[in-house]
Amino acid sequence: MTKNHPGQVCTHCGGKHQSCVLREKAPDAEDVLPLSRACGYGRVKVCRISGDRRLCARMADLGILPGREMELLCAAAGGHNCMVRINGGTISLDSLTTANILVSPV
């Protein structure tokens, strides 16, 4: 039997894989920007991961998936690496990676 927790089938992510700009209560299009251009600190929501398949998979492994929220600890603007807190861990991302992560402020 397939289990997403014992005895039940998980349906938690229904529809989440759609880009968050397409969903209900979607942020304004101008609010969506690449993480590499996020200037201030604070919480952001992941809207979409672009880039190649490998990058998408790597981000997914780290829990950076559309619909997830994360705390920006060190801004990425200006081509710098950035630091985010997600799922209880602190992850550093380089500028090429952050350019492929579209986020919106929470």
Binding site: H5, C13, G63, T90, I91, S92
Partner: protein
């Protein structure tokens, strides 16, 4: 003999795996490499309940995909070695991320125990974990522990023995990955089972899952095993991938990962975790990061800390270095006194004691440097250094983690390339690591400083400080540009994305620091020491043989006799020359004249030696860079150790043995010599700074890169680069009329 059991320690980086490994095995460790890769393999023995447990510390990974060498090594170990128990070290303060890997272990169906580490940190953060509930929901034993203090380790080992004794099977966990993927997976499994595709190694559903995840290694193996069946499976995978791309703009891997996280969330939400504070509040570590990695303050703090590490390493190690030097000097003196003159004595004193002593002389530096690096690494700061420097180093095809090897090798003049090359172990990408270890010898190590200071003092004394600073800038520039060149040519390849989890700041444990430092130092002593002995004897032989022809030796002897005869009335009789060195009554003038003859003989002997002949043979080439045969001999000798350049120059300029600390006589001599001028000095500086690394470094490059190919490359490439630069400088100087 009682059977021993294989235990694998697995888990995310920074979850406390190595701390637990050190606690379990103490000093009973063996460090090697996994076959064919430069990933460290640590094994150790642990006794518990009268049984022997062979513990393997697997590389830290976030996942069991094929994205990195570490992940491949970890999963290959699990499926090929089939350990009796896999202890999954999970950071209790970061459960959600850590259980992601746990989930994949369960999908693979390995005998698993979760070691819930750092429960003290979790409690401090207001996180309470119901371990029994977690254990019953996941269906695997969960043992809470604090690996730093050893709390809970006994219970963990009891549980390990229990799992071994139970001998029960561990069916792979079946998760749902959404309707689309589940349907495809369900259609793939019977095909895999019927075709027996890799079923002797992997569970059928896991193979299907990896094909959906586009896993290179599994796809490759499946193609080799049964290309027809593999093609069918890949086609199904491609179809569902296109469907997911069209409908939800995602790939199967992302969908699978999302469902794994969903599974974890559903477990945690059933009362496994209770949180007293806001789950996403910023912890002390995050607050420190806001200052320490600040755009403006960060580099200043980093500069201060790296300078501190540098000073700590080279200042505090100087005393034991001196002790070791005195010890080997003392040993040399004893051999000198006890053995009669001859080749055996010469080989023991200059080849064995001089060569091996020179290498062991580095041990305190290595030890202090690794202790400093261990403090930075275990405290979590090293990851922040890499984070801050990555942007600059990336421009040159390197990685943020390359900064430490550069600093240690002499980025701030005076380091040492040997520990620098060894410090490249913190780099994970093989190409970035090799590019770093090939370019760190360009830094101005402590051994190059005496000759650099000598040439600057002799020819640019009016601007010594500026020229010294310039050499540091030039060494950094050449190293980074060379790295860029290598990454564009022989080491071409994409830069590794700087995506890594930064560990929270922690206080390192003394035991961890000690084991970390000792294991690396011991590796150096053991490995470098064996090859070094052979090469030092070879270099000694090259600079000693063939000796002076008998008639030439007799000629110098006659000169000595004549001089001594002339001073006979002063109490020195002919025939007493053998006792000369110890005689107090020898007049200063006589001693000086005899010294001149000794030096001339040493010069003649050096010229006649294999190294001397090489120096002469190289002159037709080296004259394009302005070097005569005497400089060539010193440069050949510099391959043994860069300090040797000064002493060999002293011998080849008939000044006798020149102490590297007192080079005034040689400085004057070079300044007055007709073969030398500021342009030749600049060319020589360029050559010395960038030519082949000393042989200890070369041995380390071979060891660290896992191949002599790169060691030979570093000698040939660096010498070619240095020669090109020296020729360019000398010829430009000549063209401008600045050199004769």
């Amino acid at each position: 003999m009682a059977k021993s059991f294989n235990i694998a320690l697995a888990g995310n980086p920074n979850a406390g795996k190595t701390t637990l490994f050190n606690y379990l095995t103490g000093a009973r460790q063996h460090v090697g490499n996994y076959p064919g890769v430069t990933v460290e393999k640590k094994e150790g023995i642990c006794q518990h309940g009268g049984r022997e447990l062979r513990v393997t510390d697997l590389p830290g990974t976030y996942s069991l995909t094929a994205y990195s060498v570490e992940e491949l090594v970890a999963r290959n170990f699990l499926v090929n070695e089939k350990p009796d128990v896999v202890i999954d070290i999970v950071d209790a303060s970061n459960l959600e991320r850590n259980l992601y890997l746990t989930c994949q272990f369960m999908e693979l169906g390995v005998p698993l125990i979760i070691a819930l580490n750092m429960i003290d940190v979790a409690q401090h953060r207001g996180i309470e974990v119901d371990t029994e509930k977690l254990s019953s929901l996941l269906g695997v034993p969960v043992v809470p522990l604090v690996a730093r203090s050893g709390k809970g380790v006994n219970l963990l080992l009891d549980t390990v023995l229990l799992v071994i004794d139970e001998k029960k099977s561990y069916p792979p966990l079946r998760l749902s990955y959404g309707d689309d993927l589940d349907q495809v997976l369900d259609s793939m499994v019977p095909l895999i089972e019927q075709g027996k595709l890799l079923t002797d190694t992997y569970p059928a559903r896991w193979t299907g899952l990896k094909i959906l995840e586009n896993d290179d290694q599994i796809l490759d193996r499946a193609m080799k095993a049964d290309s027809t069946l593999a093609d069918i499976l890949v086609q199904r995978s491609d179809e569902v991938t296109s469907h997911l791309q069209r409908t939800v703009d995602t790939y199967p891997e992302a969908m699978i990962a999302d469902h794994r996280y969903g599974f974890i969330k559903s477990i945690l939400r059933q009362g496994v975790i209770s949180q007293r504070f806001d789950a996403d509040r910023l912890y002390t570590s995050d607050r420190i990061d806001k200052i320490v990695t600040n755009r403006f303050l960060g580099p200043l703090i980093m500069g201060a800390i790296l300078y501190g590490l540098y000073s700590f390493t080279f200042n505090y190690s100087s005393l034991p270095v001196d002790w070791l030097a005195s010890f080997f000097g003392f040993l040399g003196d004893i051999v000198n006194r006890v053995l009669p003159d001859g080749p055996i004595k010469s080989m023991l004193v200059s080849g064995v004691i001089g060569g091996v002593g020179g290498v062991l002389g580095f041990v305190p530096i290595i030890m202090f440097m690794f202790l400093g690096i261990a403090v930075l690494e275990d405290s979590g700061y090293l990851a922040r250094v890499a984070f801050m420097m990555d942007r600059i180093f990336r421009m040159f095809g390197l990685h943020g983690s390359s900064v430490m090897p550069f600093i240690v090798s002499g980025g701030i003049a005076g380091g040492c390339a040997v520990p620098g090359v060894m410090a490249t172990r913190t780099l994970r990408s093989p190409k970035e690591r090799i590019a770093t270890l090939l370019t760190v010898p360009f830094m101005n190590c402590g051994a190059k400083l005496p000759i650099i200071a000598l040439l600057i003092g002799a020819f640019f004394s009016a601007h010594q400080a500026q020229y010294m600073f310039l050499t540091t800038v030039v060494s950094w520039s050449v190293a980074l540009l060379t790295a860029k060149f290598l990454r564009m040519t022989v080491l071409r390849g994409e830069s590794t994305p700087f995506v890594m989890e930064l560990p929270p700041y922690r206080f390192p444990t003394f035991k961890g620091l000690f084991i970390h430092t000792w294991e690396r130092t011991w590796q150096y002593i053991k490995k470098a020491g064996t090859v070094v002995l052979a090469i030092s004897i070879l270099l000694w032989a090259m600079m000693t043989y063939p000796g002076l022809p008998a008639d030439k030796s007799a000629q110098f002897e006659r000169q000595r006799q004549e001089v001594m005869a002339a001073y006979a009335p002063h109490g020195v009789a002919a025939g007493q020359e053998k006792e000369r060195p110890g005689q107090v009554a020898e007049p200063p003038e006589l001693a000086a004249r005899l010294q001149v003859i000794d030096n001339m003989e040493a010069q003649a002997a050096l010229r006649n030696s294999l190294a001397g002949r090489m120096g002469i043979a190289l002159e037709p080439l080296s004259r394009f860079a302005g070097f005569d045969w005497r400089t060539n001999i010193a440069l050949v000798g510099g391959f043994a150790a860069k300090e040797v350049i000064v002493s060999t120059l002293g011998t080849s300029y008939s000044l006798g043995s020149v102490d590297v600390e007192h080079t005034a006589s040689l400085q004057d001599r070079l300044a007055r010599d007709k073969h030398w001028n500021p342009i030749v000095a600049l060319a020589a500086l360029a050559f010395i700074m960038f030519y082949a690394p000393c042989f200890v470094t070369v041995v380390c490059i071979a060891r660290e890169s896992g191949s002599w190919k790169w060691a030979i490359f570093s000698m040939v490439f660096n010498t070619f680069l240095a020669y090109s630069l020296a020729v360019a400088i000398y010829q430009t100087g000549r063209a401008l009329g600045l050199a004769p």
